[in-house]
Subunit: 231 residues, 2 copies
DNA sequence: AGTAAATGATAGTATTACTATTATATTCGC
DNA sequence: GCGAATATAATAGTAATACTATCATTTACT
């Protein structure tokens, strides 16, 4: 996996940037450092001015790459989902048994990212934290739908594809299950939520150092889909 | 239900306001109109200045009730959860059968709010929309934990109590189910999420005009908890 | 009527989220 | 290695935001 990773690139919707940050070292530094900075300060207190100072560059230079900080966040989210989709597809590709396949997919999607695969200049561990802490569909969508009525789906293509794939895997295990999309989106979003609770509100979850969201969701899925199969 | 409601009052943590908005007509107008305005403009574009203009009052007067708009949002969220808890407890109180009780609780928690019970000056339908669109734990918590390290839980007492109650109902149905808290928090948050998707990203959910989140979650819960009981 | 409390009006500050302009590096074709 | 393009940096400026402070006015209370 690690070796292959070097040559894979996550494609991001062009509308999310003005100039491709992958095309220069400044662009890479912007992406790289913004992740750390947003985690550190929280998204609201993150500004291009502060980022410029940190990377010894200039506010105005950053504006040449990203229209505003919301777009940068969307870019990071798109990258994250693209990366998750890649990992999910890669990890499940060779598995033919539907149950095993779904189990593996859920494992990849719900586990905590614990090592930086050195896929790129992006530190996936920190990005994972960023998404857990800052990813709020509502926030992102508000911005998007205002500027981009009717086209908003473009920005979420990857996330939609991921949910659709997971939904198909669910159907492959239980073709009669009536809510595969809702279950898939509940897993994807719910996983972020359980990680969040584990960190900030431990009394609202059973997840802790020993039990992780993967255990919870794996159990949930197979209890739900095994109905009638194991009876 | 309707008559009783008149005399019930949702208690809100005092730290969320400077002066109790329930104590004056200006305070009530602030709360009442802010709900509409946040739904209309989105939280980020909502300001006390604009609110002041709309209610023919003054920015500075609003600041005497709420420290800032984040606190106002926390106040509204606390009210919402208090109201949901009340409705849940009220609706399930007389039910002795554990399964029926849980089913009713889920119904109350996941259904769309469709009528304004005239409980107070607060329009619950619009508030429900606000929470669906703007409620992001991450956002709220960031604010809270910064200013209030160690005390952050205070703000979420009601929401925590709600999840704890639901968790207990789950355990009452299946005392061996290992993740009652996670399941409860997944329902509460997941319900908002499904409503959100239904409105903004219909391809990510099976919920629509005919199927609603209540159907999905009721089905999910009983598939999950009936393991071994119905076998 | 007199006092306190609530509200309103106005002004002011620091920060943010940009845009515009001009200057300085850096890269690239040749 | 030179000149032209391109990228980046520096600086300045604007409108809006998120407040704070002060003082004036209205309302409520006894």
């Amino acid at each position: 996996m690690d070796i292959l990773m070097q040559s894979v690139r996550i494609e991001i919707n062009e509308k999310l940037y003005l100039k491709d940050p992958e095309s220069s070292s400044l662009g890479k530094k912007i992406v790289e450092e913004s992740i750390h900075m947003i985690v550190e300060l929280g998204f609201e207190h993150f500004t291009f001015k502060k980022l410029g100072a940190k990377i010894n560059s200039n506010e105005s230079s950053i504006y040449r790459y990203f229209e505003n900080k919301q777009k940068l966040l969307l870019y990071l989210a798109a990258w994250y989902w693209g990366w998750m989709e890649y990992r999910m597809v890669f990890a499940t590709h060779s598995i033919s048994d539907a149950k095993e396949k779904l189990e593996k997919a859920i494992e990849v999607l719900t586990q905590n990212v614990e090592e930086d695969n050195a896929f790129s200049h992006i530190n996936e561990i920190v990005l994972n934290h960023l998404i857990i802490n800052e990813y709020s569909n509502s926030y992102l969508v508000k911005e998007v739908s205002k500027e981009n009525k009717g086209k908003k789906d473009d920005y979420f293509t990857i996330c939609k594809r991921l949910v659709a794939r997971l939904s198909e895997m669910i159907t492959a295990v239980d073709k009669d299950y009536p809510y595969p999309l809702s279950l898939a989106s509940t897993i994807v979003e719910g996983s972020l939520h359980q990680h969040f609770l584990k960190e900030h509100f431990p009394t609202l979850t059973n997840c802790n150092n020993k039990i992780n969201p993967t255990d919870f969701f794996t159990d949930l899925i197979f209890r739900t889909l095994n109905q009638g199969l194991n009876g």
